[in-house]
Symmetry: C2
Subunit: 200 residues, 2 copies
């Protein structure tokens, strides 16, 4: 397994790329307390997308971690989580979006958002904005109270913490350095992604 | 407000229909302990769909009930919950599907499923199977442990319990009488849906 590509996402940005079956994607929080929203689509069928609902159902937990499989809406394995140094990621909430900033933050001016960043990055790869599903919000710390109420707490990730995923099919992938104040303890930091070749 | 249509869904079936803005949809559990999976698409834009992720984010709870708005992936209000005599519905899990029965129940023969029933009912209305999102699983009783683990318990609904929704836009709607043993305390019952005209 050797490093084939490394990208640093500046704060409040996104990018998209292809990952081939067997390749590893390592998502690193270089500074700590920074969320990365991730989504994926099957390269051979762009109507097949990473499904929070199917993944949570089969994993029987809202908190996916090392050893879990992430499934598509067709119930095909898309990713396997190989490493997880944090153990707390969110798979309930959609990426922050212009509308979210209006509704929750009462923002009136333009605000960078993961949804817009994903939509912009994925468009050249043939992904329409309205097909972007609930993302895996890596390092995002959401807890569910007994009454169902959600609390968004600062990420548990510290500098250098990471999540490593193995692609189980050829994928189109979108990732961000999250743009929402509340999700990142009030500051915006970069995210690093590393791609490693498949091992035989 | 007057009743304009009433349908009984036999056990393990689904149906689809249009609901105009302002109309009320009442979903009734006539026998008790029976789940109804519901999804919706904008009539004027079939790429706009009922979004669990945006709804949960804006409601700040996984348990939507009376007074909550259900949002589309474009953050437009699709439904408002007007009445809820149960107060426990699931919005985390995808509809039961052929693959779910294979993976979780280890079923080898064909098993009826909400996904197949929704896909079949929605196809004539221009909805492709792969665009069916996480459904609102009315009366489904899913609890989340402190560690994130899910438990599916018998529905809290008794005979006659219901959920009433007002459409906030013209909608294509799919509903089922759920086909999964675990979700319905081991037996399959019908679901009644009633449509009421808009009030001025």
């Amino acid at each position: 397994m050797s490093l084939t590509e490394r990208r640093r996402l500046p704060p409040q940005t996104g990018t998209a790329f292809m990952v081939r079956r067997g390749e590893r994607l390592k998502v690193i929080d270089p500074c700590g307390e920074q969320v990365c929203d991730l989504t994926a689509f099957a390269l051979d069928n762009r109507t097949e997308w990473l499904s929070s609902g199917r993944t949570i159902d089969y994993a029987n937990t809202i908190y996916v971690t090392k050893g879990h499989t992430l499934y598509s809406n067709c119930s095909r394995p898309m990713w396997t989580i190989l490493e997880d140094t944090v153990g707390r990621h969110d798979f309930l909430l959609t990426p922050c979006s212009p509308e979210m900033f209006t509704i929750i933050y009462k923002t009136t001016a333009h605000h960078p958002s993961c949804f817009e960043n994903l939509a912009t990055a994925l468009a050249p790869l043939g992904i329409a904005p309205n097909t972007i599903p609930t993302t895996l919000n890596i390092f995002m710390n959401v807890i569910v109270g007994m009454d169902g109420t959600l609390q968004i707490l600062p990420p548990r990730s510290r500098a250098g913490d990471h999540l490593t995923l193995r692609a189980e099919m050829d994928l189109i992938v979108g990732v961000t350095a999250c743009s929402a104040e509340l999700s990142n303890n009030g500051t915006f930091k970069p995210i690093d992604v590393e791609l490693y070749s498949a091992t035989s």
